[in-house]
């Protein structure tokens, strides 16, 4: 059922509406993200960036509108959509009682793709010590964010959806995110990122999408 291949990555949202707790967050939203593009979603607080990213990731059903991945409508294509998706939410999904290594192993077990590099190499890539047994709750917030990013270095996925990936990261951390995104775009992947801060990416890769214009 997985298209082994080369249908170029393409995420499309048509006439998407989002209603949360009786509040209309946005409606009639059209959006297309193609291979090699990194979309930066901006908007004021409460504009619906998190809601949009969660809908695009398939968490929840939109009040109206449809999503398409590589041409296939989403509810039918859910299985292989989820195989090609990596999601970073507000909370970095790091279990405090497990070590960094154990956390990463669990994340890999949940994915069904062959890994791109050994776990230790991924930890080094994001700037964490690869042989540390300490429970993750002893890491700083920035280190936990880096641990969450290690998944992105490790697991192959054509669609990255990241909600505020730069939270708690220092300047070097921001450089890490930019490097990861650049490599991802070069491989033909799509990324949708919500962030207040600017991202420095190669020309032609970075696209902007402002939610403030669609306020209901």
């Amino acid at each position: 059922m997985t298209p082994a291949s080369p249908t170029p990555a393409c995420l499309e949202a048509r006439a998407l509406s989002c209603i949360r707790a009786d509040r209309l967050i946005f409606e009639a939203l059209d959006f297309t993200a193609r291979a090699g593009e990194v979309w930066q979603v901006t908007g004021a607080n409460g504009a619906g960036k998190t809601s949009l990213l969660r809908l695009l990731a398939g968490l929840g059903t939109p009040a109206a509108g449809t999503l398409h991945w590589c041409g296939e409508p989403l509810p039918e294509a859910r299985d292989y959509y989820q195989a090609e998706l990596l999601f970073l939410g507000h909370a970095p999904a790091v279990a405090g009682f497990l070590s960094a290594h154990e956390n990463l192993m669990h994340a890999c077990a949940l994915s069904n793709q062959p890994l791109r590099m050994p776990l230790g190499a991924a930890l080094t890539r994001v700037g964490l010590p690869s042989a540390d047994d300490a429970p993750a709750q002893r890491l700083s917030a920035g280190q936990r964010q880096r641990l969450a990013l290690a998944r992105f270095a490790l697991v192959p996925a054509r669609l990255w959806i990241m909600d505020e990936p730069l939270t708690a990261l220092d300047v070097a951390g921001r450089g890490l995110v930019e490097a990861l995104l650049t490599e991802h775009a070069a491989r033909g992947g799509v990324a949708i990122v919500s962030t207040h801060q600017g991202l420095q990416l190669p020309a032609g890769v970075l696209q902007q999408f402002d939610l403030s214009g669609l306020q209901a």
Partner: protein
């Protein structure tokens, strides 16, 4: 990685959490003991009456103590964002959920069964009744963990915590309670307990096949 490896990882993670936070395990056991000890205080220390009511007391206390453990099934994962990763995983969600419930049964129900065995023996339960209570709990607690897991998934992240969970689960727990205590009573009268045990086993098998899918649906409904 295969689906079974993913399920094993989920199970291992929850078991590791229980091992590294042993305090969490003790609370339901202490609650269980307190509830059981409230009854003699309320009823009075007449030993015959107490001994005949003991199986019922153990069952009720076990149900209530199990309900106490239910918020933890999904609450920690909800708080740190792991629940979304579980739902978004390409591995079958029903299988992952089954692994979580298995962990809850091992860390929540099994210690309670052990505690019932200990308290039953200490408080003078006769051997046949003691065996009937324990076997009933062993056969019935899988249903309780599964149905409890469903309620926990429906109520994840909501205020009202254990109270809402108690309201959702206890009506669904009643059949298990009826057959468990009926078996204990029959054992006390010297009658056979096969019928009740088969019924409990049947309920557990039914729950085992259907509930994981319901829990997966509940998680998807809530995390949207």
């Amino acid at each position: 990685m295969s689906a079974l490896a993913a399920a094993r990882s989920v199970l291992g993670r929850d078991l590791r959490r229980a091992r590294r936070r042993p305090g969490d395990l003790a609370q339901p056991l202490i609650f269980f003991a307190v509830v059981v000890f409230l009854f003699p205080i309320a009823i009075g220390p007449q030993s015959e009456l107490l001994r005949s009511l003991l199986p019922a007391m153990l069952w009720v206390a076990a149900l209530l103590a199990l309900v106490i453990t239910l918020p933890d099934v999904f609450a920690a994962d909800y708080a740190d964002g792991s629940l979304e990763q579980l739902i978004l995983s390409p591995q079958p969600l029903a299988l992952l959920v089954l692994a979580k419930i298995a962990a809850q049964w091992l860390t929540g129900a099994l210690p309670l069964i052990g505690m019932s065995a200990a308290l039953g023996a200490v408080l003078g339960l006769e051997a046949t009744v003691w065996r009937a209570v324990l076997l009933g709990l062993l056969l019935g607690t899988p249903v309780l963990s599964l149905v409890g897991g469903l309620a926990s998934a429906l109520a994840v992240g909501l205020r009202g915590g254990p109270l809402l969970l108690a309201l959702l689960t206890l009506p669904l727990y009643i059949p298990v309670l009826i057959f468990g205590t009926s078996a204990a009573r029959n054992a006390g009268l010297g009658l056979a307990v096969e019928a009740e045990m088969f019924f409990l086993a049947g309920l557990s098998v039914l729950a085992l096949t259907l509930t994981p899918f319901a829990i997966a649906a509940a998680l998807r409904a809530r995390m949207g």
